[in-house]
């Protein structure tokens, strides 16, 4: 049998089935129910990784998510996951893992020379050197450090798996399914509460799976299985296995990640790799258990040094012994069961070493019972670099004894897993009797039970869980049964902690993964880094992937000792989400690639696709950019679309503009107050251009608003600001002037709207209209609006508006008719030479007309800057009036909208270029403005531009330099009116 350390019995693994997997290319076998760590140990593999800084050989320290050492690269190619904890990887057929941070191999790692010169590599050494010469940092020092740092290799390929997000709501969320969690969930569920129980493991039970006690006459493993079965029977109890609650957020929001497919070779069809749960709970019970802490001594990082509780987990849950000859080194009686469980499984326990000054008789008796030697003393040194071979023990008289062994089980007591209790700012409290930090003030609705609350005994876990679960249910309005269990007195849990021992061995590690040693902590304190946060930041203690779960408190204790302070007053660093590291993919869910954000499609989208449109992202919208014909360059397409619109007739989908219905007797008054110009006197059947300011006096948005009835206006906004303007109007109406009898509602999605523009546009519209409706220039002049019917009774709104500068209409129909309408327009327009045009041609025509758009309405411009200063009414109050009248917003020297015509018409007027006087140097002192928009005007046969220029309107005729040093481009251009085409607007009124 290859699994030399697999025990013949015990555990929850299925010995009848084998799973084959690879580690560093070596083919190995394990069983269903194993983790990668338990399977490696079963195969006698102790060396599994290298440390961060000194590249020291490392083995498995723990059996859980706090593991600092046994990190591997799991899977290969694009599926590779660096830094994955072997202790939490559920074994699956074909699993492929590799050790990391070593070269050329795990056994022979060249960078392990780092430890030879470690006196130079002390805490923070890099702050004191690598400064000369300055340019060497980027070229030499930093690349070298970077290559040496980091742990595993990222795949550098797109993540091939999928993720999803889910929401859940419950009365009580129970976090952790050990003795306390199962008890809590049972009592809450029995009371009728909707319960969600989450556990990071793939089997419910927590420590119950790893210990050999009894509950209600049943072995703990059986009790856990029975509890799980009962919970499954409640219809309103959801059990989420393989699910880590990683963050607590305001308002009872708990974030969790469920590893749906990580225990499989690949996720099942149509299922994600992981799922993010946003769980909203009225009450919560945190039963996250506790972490056993190591004792710090020389060479305490050697493979074969393992936490005593982890040894029990491997023996009792996985049926694996991590060693064949064992020494136990513990400062508490609880760890004695490790010796007993090993012995009962036929593993030889050579010694129990007790470092407590007030050694308890229990330890001696336990040793005697299993034939082990009992030593009151400490571990003095450890031999065996790639796996321990012996330990030298020093007793209280200073006598040395050498024990040959391959496993040293260590326990320095327990730290409650209080992490989740601090995410909302709760400060942990030092518990002197139990020598650990326990939860302080808790978030609203939160309770803590079991070991997470510092109640370590099985009876206390069961009782506190039951009580907390019942109380949580009660606070949700249920009537739980009276608790059936009572917790034992807390005095039994008093401990005498031993944080570290003075030993002769080599480096004594406080933070195993980041290689922070006792001497580093001392050096930091010597240099003035004397609070835990400074210690952390200076030495990196607690900043590794295990987030200091096994090192933070030991570090604080050492700091207290070195600086002569009471540990309880030293304080601690703050735990922040996530509890254990969370994949970015899980947090993103499906929001990536083309699904990053939803797409909004205007009503003509399908038709535009059929007609070969090229699309462009405009905010969330996809709009037709142009409609190229084969063989055309982009410029030719745009020129054709512009020319056809100016000479014949064109059509463009403008449904993306914001459209807001404003109704009520006071509709006109509301508009008067949000636009700088007046609307209440606008006649019914007319539309008007309006500009809105923000309250600080700068321009916010513009558009046309039409009066459809006395109490009914229809506003349009720019595409970009549709949402913002809508919120603004609602604020004005609800908050500023609730006394106005008016309602506003966004109708952007409700109306399909097309601009039909060009000399032939009237004929096209006439053909669409049902008979008997007159839109002659007299009956329906420029800026008229009205309701009509088209295509045999379809209601339509018609506006005689023009963005292009030609005779033009905008016609709107309910969105469901949008597709039909564009097809009808094209049909009816065919005989008049109609052609569609996209946003590119639209942009050219608006630049030719000098209409401000997004580039000019950039939030930094005022009405004055846009040439609209005179539109500001002096007769009424409106948003932004007071601040907009300030001198600084109106002075002539401000950059103001102008047109630019290059002296050479073939030269571009580069958008984003800055403007300086013709003969001035191109520098900041001479910077007088910038180009906002540029286009080629087919009508002028010249490039043209819109720009903002200091004192611009007074400088028509002046030649300025258009400077674009970023593109190494420059040209000369004449300042002119921004209205390049038909400045008098004669074409609009025919």
């Amino acid at each position: 049998m290859s699994q030399i350390n697999r025990l013949m019995k015990r555990g929850l693994v299925d010995r009848d089935k084998s799973i084959s997997f690879r580690f560093d290319g070596q083919r190995l076998e394990g069983h269903p129910g194993d983790t990668l760590a338990s399977a490696l140990l079963a195969n006698g593999i102790r060396l599994v990784g290298r440390s961060f800084k000194y590249h020291r050989p490392r083995g498995v320290l723990t059996a859980g998510s706090e593991e600092p050492n046994a990190l591997v690269e799991l899977r290969t190619g694009a599926h590779r996951e660096p830094n994955t904890r072997a202790t939490t990887i559920e074994l699956y057929e074909g699993l492929d893992a590799a050790s990391q941070n070593r070269w050329p191999s795990l056994k022979y790692d060249l960078l392990s020379v780092n430890q030879l010169v470690s006196p130079i590599f002390g805490a923070g050494f890099y702050y004191k050197t690598f400064m000369w010469p300055a340019s060497f940092w980027e070229k030499l020092y930093e690349p070298t450090i970077r290559r040496a740092a980091g742990l595993g290799y990222p795949s550098k390929q797109p993540d091939p798996d999928t993720y999803e997000k889910a929401n859940a709501f419950c009365d009580v969320i129970v976090i952790g399914a050990g003795a306390a969690g199962l008890s809590a969930a049972l009592s809450a569920a029995r009371a009728g509460a909707r319960v969600i129980l989450c556990d990071e493991d793939f089997v419910l039970g927590g420590r119950l799976l790893a210990e050999r006690g009894e509950i209600d006459g049943k072995p703990t493993q059986e009790w856990a299985a029975a509890a799980a079965a009962e919970l499954e029977s409640f219809p309103d109890c959801r059990i989420l296995r393989r699910t880590t609650v990683f963050g607590v957020y305001d308002g009872g929001v708990y974030a969790a990640v469920e590893r749906v497919g990580d225990h499989l070779r690949k996720p099942a069809p149509y299922t994600p790799r992981q799922r993010l749960w946003r769980i909203v709970a009225k009450q919560s019970v945190v039963c996250a258990g506790a972490f056993e802490r190591p004792i710090v001594f020389g060479d305490n990082d050697r493979p074969g040094v393992m936490l005593a509780s982890a040894v029990r987990t491997y023996v009792n849950r996985f049926g694996v012994t991590p060693g064949r000859a064992v020494v136990v080194f513990a400062d508490n009686d609880a760890a004695l069961s490790t010796a007993k469980d090993l012995s009962d499984s036929g593993v030889e326990v050579r010694a129990i070493v007790d470092p407590r000054p007030d050694a308890s008789p229990t330890a001696g008796q336990a040793a005697t019972a299993i034939g082990a030697e009992y030593v009151s003393g400490i571990v003095d040194s450890v031999s065996g670099a790639h796996g321990i071979k012996s330990v030298r023990i020093k007793d209280t008289q200073g006598r040395m004894t050498l024990f040959n062994c391959d496993l040293l089980a260590v326990s320095g007591g327990w730290n409650p897993a209080i992490n989740l209790t601090t995410h909302l700012g709760g400060k942990p409290v030092w518990d002197e009797a139990r020598s650990c930090l326990v939860p302080g003030a808790l978030a609203p609705g939160m309770r803590v039970a079991g070991a997470a609350a510092g109640r370590f005994s099985l009876d206390a876990c069961l009782a506190s869980g039951e009580t907390a679960g019942g109380e949580s249910a009660r606070d949700c309005g249920f009537s739980p049964a009276a608790p059936s269990r009572s917790a034992p007195a807390q005095d039994d849990e008093r401990v005498t902690p031993v944080w570290h021992v003075q030993s002769r061995g080599g480096k004594a590690f406080v933070d195993l993964q980041n290689d922070v040693t006792v001497s580093d902590v001392k050096l930091a304190a010597r240099e003035g880094f004397r609070v835990p946060d400074h210690l952390k930041r200076y030495t990196t203690l607690g900043m590794a992937t295990d987030q200091g779960k096994t090192s933070n408190l030991n570090g604080a204790a050492l700091l207290a000792e070195v600086t002569g302070r009471y540990l309880g007053s030293v304080g601690s660093t703050t735990f922040r989400p996530p509890y254990t590291p969370v994949a970015i993919g899980a947090l993103a869910g499906h929001h990536r690639g083309k699904e990053f954000r939803p797409k909004r499609l205007p009503p003509s989208h399908r038709w535009a696709e059929e007609n070969g449109a090229e699309f462009v992202e405009v905010g969330a919208w996809m709009r037709a950019l142009m409609f190229p014909k084969s063989g055309e360059t982009a410029q030719e397409t745009v020129d054709r679309e512009v020319a056809n619109t100016r000479n014949n007739v064109g059509v463009c989908d403008v449904s993306t503009l914001g459209k807001i219905d404003v109704q009520g007797p006071d509709a006109g008054t509301l508009l008067d107050r949000v636009y700088i110009n007046g609307f209440s006197k606008l006649p019914v059947g007319k539309a008007r251009y309006g500009l809105m300011l923000r309250e600080d006096g700068f321009a916010m948005d513009d558009g046309t608003t039409a009066r459809l009835a006395d109490d009914h206006f229809y506003m349009t906004t720019t595409t970009a600001n549709a949402v913002r303007v809508s919120q603004h109007l609602e604020f004005c109406q609800q908050v500023l002037w609730p006394e106005l009898d008016v309602q506003t509602v966004s109708q952007t999605e409700q109306w399909a709207q097309y601009a039909v523009a060009g000399p032939q546009s009237r004929k096209v519209i006439e053909a669409l209209l049902d008979s008997g409706q007159d839109i002659s220039n007299e009956a329906f002049p420029y800026m008229a609006c009205g309701t009509f019917t088209v295509c045999g009774g379809t209601p339509a709104r018609l506006f005689r508006l023009s963005f292009s500068g030609e005779l033009a209409y905008e016609i709107g129909v309910p969105a469901r008719f949008g597709d039909a309408l564009i097809r009808a327009i094209m049909d009816d327009g065919a005989e008049h030479g109609i052609g569609p045009y996209g946003t590119e041609a639209l942009g050219v025509m608006r630049i030719e007309k000098g209409h401000a758009a997004g580039p000019e309405l950039n939030g930094q411009t005022t009405a004055h800057d846009l040439g609209l200063g005179r539109m500001m009414s002096r007769k009424k109050d409106f948003i932004g009036r007071f601040m907009g009248e300030r001198e600084a917003l109106n002075e002539a020297s401000r950059a103001t909208l102008i047109g630019l015509k290059p002296l050479d018409p073939k030269m571009r007027v580069s958008a984003g270029a800055h403007l300086v006087p013709r003969h001035a140097k191109a520098d900041a002192a001479n910077d007088q403005g910038y180009v906002t928009s540029q286009a080629y005007s087919p009508e002028l046969e010249s490039f043209i531009g819109l720009a903002m220029l200091s004192d611009g309107p007074a400088r028509y005729g002046e030649v300025v330099r258009v400077c674009d040093p970023l593109r190494n481009y420059e040209t000369l251009a004449e300042v002119c009116s921004p209205h390049f085409v038909d400045p008098e607007g004669e074409r609009l009124r025919v």
């Binding site: 309250e695 919120q727 609602e730 908050v735 007071f882």
Partner: protein, 87 residues
């Protein structure tokens, strides 16, 4: 964070849009001497550490503007009411 909208019930933060301080009052008239009041209204804020009355809109819900009393040190929401006062 979850806000209990008077119309829609308790909803997640992602449904709401924040505006800011709800204690400032827009100066009521156009008064050339009102500069200080306007600067106060547009730019200056108490920004308290503690209870803060603030405007939120249930923008992905009923579109109601709300006046929320919230503790800026704990994020505890003490009261929510409609910002639109009785007409």
């Amino acid at each position: 964070m979850r806000i209990t909208c008077p119309y829609c019930g308790a909803r997640g933060l992602e449904e709401f849009t924040y505006r800011g301080d709800a204690t400032v009052t827009r100066p009521s008239s156009i008064d050339a001497r009102a500069t200080e009041a306007w600067v106060d209204y547009v730019y200056l804020r108490d920004n308290p550490a503690g209870l803060h009355k603030e405007f939120w809109q249930h923008s992905a819900g009923c579109r109601a503007w709300l006046e929320v009393a919230r503790d800026t040190t704990t994020h505890e929401i003490v009261a929510v009411e409609l910002a639109a006062k009785e007409r």
